[in-house]
C-alpha cells in the first residue's frame, strides 16, 4: 500500500496578469492531478480559469520514503561498522606488534591450504627469481599507492 505521504501533485503557476506566480502542492491521486482540482482557491474569475490553467504545469510525483529511510540507515550502519573495525585494528595493533610478525599469516594460509596447490609450502621463500619478479610489482605499488600502501602493508605484516 502506498503511503499517503509519498504522492503529491505539484502545480507551478507562473505570473498571470497581476497575479504573482504560485506553487500548489497536494496529496491527490494521479487521476485528480489537474489544475482544476489542485489549484485552490482559484485566483482568477470563472471565465479566466481555462487560460490560467493552461499556463500552469501540474506534475504528479511519487517517491518511497521507506526506501530513503532504509537506504540511509543501511549506509550509516555500514560506515559505522567500517569505522569501528578500523578503530579496532588500530587499537589492537600495538598489542600484536610485540609478537613475531611471521607466525601470524599462517592462520590464513592454513584455511586456504586445501584448494591451493600443495607446492606452496615447499617453495623456498627467499627465492632470488621470485624476488626479481616481485621487484617490478613492488616498484609499481610504491609508485601508485605510495603512502596508502605503506599504512596498509604495515598493518598486514603485523597482524
Amino acid at each position: 500500500a502506498k503511503n499517503f505521504e509519498d504522492v503529491r501533485c505539484k502545480c507551478i503557476c507562473p505570473p498571470y496578469r497581476n497575479i504573482s506566480g504560485h506553487i500548489y502542492n497536494r496529496n491527490v491521486s494521479q487521476k485528480d492531478c489537474t489544475c482544476l482540482h489542485v489549484v485552490e482557491p482559484m485566483p482568477v474569475p470563472g471565465h479566466d480559469v481555462e487560460a490560467y490553467c493552461l499556463l500552469c504545469e501540474c506534475k504528479y510525483e511519487e517517491r518511497s520514503s521507506n526506501t530513503i529511510k532504509v537506504t540511509i540507515i543501511i549506509y550509516l550502519s555500514v560506515v559505522g561498522a567500517l569505522l569501528l573495525y578500523m578503530l579496532f585494528l588500530l587499537l589492537v595493533d600495538p598489542l600484536i606488534r610485540k609478537r613475531d610478525p611471521y607466525t601470524q599469516p599462517l592462520h590464513n594460509e592454513e584455511d586456504a591450504e586445501e584448494v591451493r596447490p600443495p607446492v606452496s609450502s615447499g617453495q623456498p621463500r627467499g627465492n632470488t627469481v621470485l624476488e626479481r619478479v616481485e621487484g617490478a610489482q613492488q616498484r609499481w605499488k610504491k609508485q601508485i599507492t605510495v603512502g596508502v600502501t605503506a599504512f596498509y602493508w604495515h598493518k598486514r605484516a603485523t597482524e
Binding site: 505521504e5 503529491r8 567500517l82 586456504a112 596447490p117 605510495v146 596498509y152
Partner: protein
C-alpha cells in the same frame, strides 16, 4: 618489514588459483568470515575427485590421451600471476573445450542436458543479476549522496534521513520565488542560533559547510587507505587495462566494492570537484566480477569474465547517465578490448535492466535517472553552428590543457614526497574547495545540480537567477505555450553571469588538482560543468546579441522580434559535450549519451560538430585522452587498439635476444633432467620457455609457461614417487628408452602448448602488432626457415613503441 610483506603476498599470488580477485580478503578481512566461504566456491564441490584423477593421467603410467595441450591437469596450472597479462587464445580455447565437453555429455543424460541449457542461459542470468545489483547500488549511492550533500547545509526535522527536497516534499509552504524553503528543513544557523539571515547565520552556515566537507573527505580518504587502496581514482584506466587482459588481483574484489561505494558517497558529498560517473563504472565492474563467482563458466575463465566486465562497464554508464545505448557505445568505443556481438546484445540487456532497476528505485523522485535530464525541443539555426564549433574549440583546448596539467601534477605527486601525505592532501584540497566554493552559489551547489540549472531553458515557470530577464509588458499576450521569446537581460542575470565566470575559473583550477587524489573521483561531472558554464555564457551572449541586433544580416532571417531563436540551455549542453569530448576523446558514445539525456534527435548535428571539433583540436596537442595518459603514467601494459603502428621495422628488430644478448633459453623435448630445468628456470626471469627438438637444430616443438612448469615440477616432487633432480623431463609423447637404473621420468607434455604462434623474422612489425592486438597474444615466437630465432612478448612491443615515440621504454613495467 615492508619487503617481507610484499614477498609473502606475492608468494600467495603465485599459488592462488581459485580465489583470484579477493586477496584483499586475507589481509583486511582476516577476522571477517568472508574468506572461507569464498575460497571454496559454492559450485565447485567436486574439486577433490578431479584432482586425483588428473594426477594419474598427469604422470602418465598408461597411454596418455591428452591430445589437447590446453587441458589443465593441476590446480594452478593455467592460471596467472598478479600483474601479468592473460593469453586470450588460451583462455578462449579453454572455454571452447569446456563447452564441447558439456555438449558432448548432454547427449548422454537428461541431467546433463539440463546442465547444458542452464550453462547456455547462465550468461543472460548473470547479466540480469549484474543489472539488478548495479542499478540498486547506483540508486543507493544517489540517495545517500543527495542526503549527505544537503547535510552540509542543514537537517530535516521530519526525519533526519530526508534531504532538503524530500523534506519539503509535501509541504505547501514553498513560494514561487523561494522554491526550496520550508519550515521542516532547518539550516545549521537556524538550528543553532535561531535566525536564518544576517552575518552570524551566514558565518555559522559557512563554518558548518567547511567542517562537514572536511569530515566527509577525511573519512573517505581514511577508509580508502585502511580497506582498499584500489578504490581511489575513477578506475576507468585500470578497467581498460584489465579488459585488455591484464590481471590486478583485488581490483574488482569485495572490499574494493564496499569501500568504493561508501567512500564515493562521502567524496561526492564533500563538495570536491568530482563526479560519481567514472567510479560507478568501477562499482558495476566489481559487481560483475563478484557475481562471476557464482558461475563456473565465468569464474574459471579470464576471457569470458572480461566479456562480462565489458558489459558491466556499459551498465555503469547506463546507470550514471540513464543512457543504456550510450553506455553500450561507451563500452565499445572507450573501454573494451574484445567486444564480440554476443557481448553487444548482453551488455545492452544488462544496461536496460540496470536503467530499469534504477528507475523503479526512483532516487530523484521525478522518474528520471539523472538529475540533469532536460527536455526541450527548440529548433536551432544553421548559423548557430559557428558558436557551436567555437565551443568545440574551447572544449578541445581545455581538454588538452587539462590532460597536460593533470598529468604533470600527478607526476609530481608520484615522484616527490607529496605522495606520502595523501590524507593531508585530500583534507587540504577539500578545505580550499569548501572555503572558496561557499560564497558563490554556483560553486556551492553540487556539480549535477549546477549542470541541471545550466541545461535548463528559461520558461515562464522558472524563477532562477539565470532566468532574470527583464519583463516585457506584453508577456501574457504571447499566448498559448510556455516558451518565451528572447528578452533583454536583467540585473539578476548579469550577477549570475559574473558568478558563473568566477565559477568557471575556480572549477578549472581545482579540477586539475582534484583528479587523481586518493578518493574515488570521476571526471565526467566536473568536465561537463566547465563546458556547461562556458556554453551558457556564450549562449546568453548570443541571445543578447540577437535581441539587440535582430535586424542585422545574420539574424534577420530567423530571429524576428519576440521570437524565441536562441536557447542558452542548448549552448550549455553543447559546451558540456565539447569539454567532456576534449578530455576523454569520446565521440559517438558521447553524442549518444547527450542525446539520450535530452531525448531528442534534433541536436545530433550541433553535438556532433562540437565533439568532432573538440576531438580534432585536442588531438592536435596530443593523441591521448586522459585515460590513456593515466595508463601510460602508471606503466600498464596496454596495447592501444586505436593507435596505428607507423614504423617499418621487422619482427627481427624487436625480438629477444638481441644480437649482443646470450642465446635464447630453450628446453629440449627430452634429455634434460629436473635439476637442469630448475636451474635454467631459476637463472632466468622469463615467463615462458620454448621447447625444441634439440639444442643444435632449434626446431620448435612447443612453448611452456614458467608458472606451469614450476607448479608441475613442485607437485611432482611432492606427490610422485621417485622424482628427484636426476629424473629426466620428457616433453615428447612417447617416453624415450632410458637406462634401467635411471629414476622414472617426469612427463610434462600436458603443459606444453603444442601450437605456439610463430611469425617469420621477415614479418613486418605492423602485422605482428595487429596479430597481438586482434588475437590477444602474450608472446609470439620468431622463426627463420623454421629455425627458432627468438621471442616477442607484448612487453617487447610496448617497449619498442615507447622507444619509437621517444619515451622511456622502462616505463613499461609489466608483462
Amino acid at each position: 618489514m615492508e619487503t617481507s610483506g610484499y614477498l609473502s603476498n606475492s608468494f600467495d599470488g603465485l599459488h592462488s588459483n581459485d580465489e583470484d580477485d579477493d586477496e584483499m580478503v586475507d589481509i583486511a578481512g582476516a577476522t571477517l568470515d568472508f574468506s572461507s566461504s569464498d575460497d571454496v566456491p559454492p559450485l565447485c564441490s567436486g574439486d577433490f575427485d578431479e584432482f586425483s584423477s588428473r594426477r594419474v593421467s598427469m604422470n602418465g603410467h598408461g597411454p596418455s590421451q591428452m591430445v589437447d595441450p590446453l587441458d589443465d591437469p593441476l590446480p594452478g596450472v593455467g592460471t596467472y600471476e598478479d600483474f601479468n597479462t592473460i593469453d586470450w587464445v588460451r583462455e578462449k580455447s579453454k572455454d571452447r573445450d569446456r563447452h564441447r565437453e558439456i555438449t558432448h555429455k548432454s547427449r548422454e543424460s537428461t541431467v546433463a542436458l539440463l546442465l547444458r541449457i542452464s550453462d547456455a542461459f547462465s550468461g543472460w542470468l548473470l547479466m540480469l543479476l549484474v543489472g539488478l545489483m548495479a542499478g540498486a547500488l547506483a540508486g543507493g549511492i544517489d540517495i545517500a549522496a543527495h542526503w549527505l550533500t544537503d547535510m552540509k547545509e542543514g537537517v530535516c526535522l521530519n526525519g533526519f534521513w530526508f534531504n532538503h527536497e524530500h523534506c519539503c516534499w509535501t509541504s505547501s509552504e514553498p513560494t514561487f520565488q523561494e522554491r526550496d524553503r520550508c519550515p521542516q528543513w532547518q539550516s545549521w544557523a537556524e538550528l543553532f542560533s535561531g535566525t536564518s539571515t544576517g552575518a552570524l547565520a551566514y558565518s555559522l552556515n559557512y563554518l558548518m559547510y567547511i567542517l562537514w566537507a572536511l569530515l566527509f573527505s577525511f573519512l573517505a580518504v581514511t577508509l580508502v587507505r585502511a580497506f582498499a587502496p584500489y578504490a581511489c581514482g575513477s578506475g576507468i584506466p585500470e578497467i581498460k587495462t584489465i579488459l585488455s587482459g591484464f590481471i590486478i588481483r583485488g581490483y574488482l574484489g569485495k572490499w574494493t566494492l564496499i569501500t568504493k561505494t561508501i567512500t564515493l558517497v562521502l567524496a561526492v558529498s564533500s563538495g570536491l570537484s568530482l563526479g560519481k560517473e567514472g567510479p560507478l563504472v568501477h562499482v558495476a565492474c566489481c559487481c560483475a566480477n563478484i557475481l562471476c563467482h557464482l558461475f563456473t563458466k565465468y569464474r574459471k575463465n579470464e576471457a569470458k569474465r572480461r566479456e562480462v566486465l565489458s558489459a558491466a562497464a556499459a551498465v555503469g554508464v547506463s546507470v550514471a547517465f540513464g543512457a543504456p545505448i550510450g553506455g553500450v557505445l561507451f563500452s565499445l568505443e572507450e573501454v573494451s578490448y574484445y567486444f564480440p556481438l554476443k557481448t553487444l546484445w548482453r551488455s545492452f540487456f544488462a544496461a536496460l535492466v540496470a536503467a530499469f532497476t534504477l528507475r523503479s528505485i526512483n532516487p530523484f523522485g521525478n522518474s528520471r535517472l539523472v538529475l540533469f535530464y532536460v527536455e526541450f525541443h527548440a529548433p536551432w539555426h544553421l548559423v548557430e553552428l559557428a558558436p557551436f564549433i567555437l565551443l568545440g574549440i574551447f572544449g578541445g583546448l581545455w581538454g588538452a590543457l587539462f590532460i597536460r596539467a593533470n598529468i604533470a601534477w600527478c607526476r609530481i605527486r608520484k615522484t616527490t614526497r607529496l605522495g606520502h601525505y595523501s590524507v593531508v592532501e585530500v583534507v587540504l584540497v577539500t578545505g580550499l574547495t569548501a572555503l572558496l566554493a561557499f560564497p558563490n552559489s554556483y560553486t556551492r551547489m553540487s556539480g549535477s545540480e549546477l549542470i541541471s540549472e545550466l541545461f535548463n531553458d528559461c520558461t515562464l515557470l522558472d524563477s532562477s537567477q539565470l532566468c532574470g530577464y527583464k519583463q516585457l509588458p506584453n508577456i501574457s499576450d504571447t499566448g498559448v505555450g510556455n516558451t518565451l521569446g528572447d528578452r533583454p537581460a536583467g540585473e539578476a542575470l548579469y550577477t549570475a553571469l559574473w558568478q558563473l565566470a568566477l565559477a568557471l575559473l575556480f572549477k578549472m583550477m581545482i579540477t586539475v588538482i582534484t583528479f587523481g587524489m586518493k578518493v574515488p573521483s570521476g571526471l565526467f561531472i566536473p568536465s561537463m560543468a566547465i563546458g556547461a558554464i562556458a556554453g551558457r555564457l556564450l549562449g546568453v551572449a548570443m541571445e543578447q546579441l540577437a535581441y539587440y541586433n535582430h535586424d542585422s544580416l545574420i539574424f534577420k532571417g530567423w530571429c524576428s522580434q519576440g521570437a524565441d531563436c536562441i536557447t542558452p540551455g542548448l549552448y550549455a549542453m553543447v559546451g558540456a559535450a565539447a569539454c567532456l569530448g576534449g578530455v576523454t576523446r569520446m565521440t559517438v558514445s558521447l553524442v549518444v549519451i547527450m542525446f539520450e539525456l535530452t531525448g531528442g534527435l534534433e541536436y545530433i548535428v550541433p553535438l556532433m560538430a562540437a565533439t568532432m571539433t573538440s576531438k580534432w583540436v585536442a588531438d592536435a596537442f596530443g593523441r591521448e585522452g586522459i585515460y590513456e595518459a593515466h595508463i601510460r603514467l602508471n606503466g600498464y601494459p596496454f596495447l592501444e587498439p586505436k593507435e596505428e603502428f607507423e614504423q617499418s621495422s621487422l619482427a627481427v628488430d624487436v625480438m629477444r635476444p638481441r644480437r649482443a644478448d646470450p642465446a635464447l633459453a630453450t628446453l629440449t623435448q627430452d634429455g634434460m633432467n629436473v635439476g637442469e630445468v630448475e636451474a635454467l628456470v631459476e637463472s632466468t626471469h622469463y615467463s615462458g620457455f620454448p621447447v625444441v627438438v634439440s639444442q643444435e637444430s632449434q626446431r620448435l616443438v612447443g612453448f611452456v609457461l614458467r608458472r606451469d612448469l614450476l607448479i608441475s615440477i613442485d607437485n611432482a616432487r611432492k606427490r610422485q614417487e621417485g622424482v628427484v633432480s636426476a629424473s629426466q623431463v620428457v616433453f615428447t609423447e612417447h617416453t624415450p628408452p632410458l637406462p634401467p637404473e635411471a629414476p622414472p621420468p617426469l612427463r610434462l607434455r600436458g603443459i606444453v602448448d603444442l601450437s605456439p604462434f610463430t611469425v617469420t623474422d621477415h614479418t613486418a612489425m605492423d602485422i605482428t602488432v595487429d596479430i597481438f592486438r586482434k588475437l590477444g597474444l602474450r608472446q609470439c615466437l620468431v622463426t627463420h626457415n623454421v629455425r627458432l630465432l627468438g621471442i616477442i612478448t607484448k612487453k617487447d612491443i610496448l617497449k619498442h613503441m615507447a622507444q619509437i615515440s621517444n619515451r622511456d621504454p622502462d616505463s613499461i613495467l609489466f608483462n
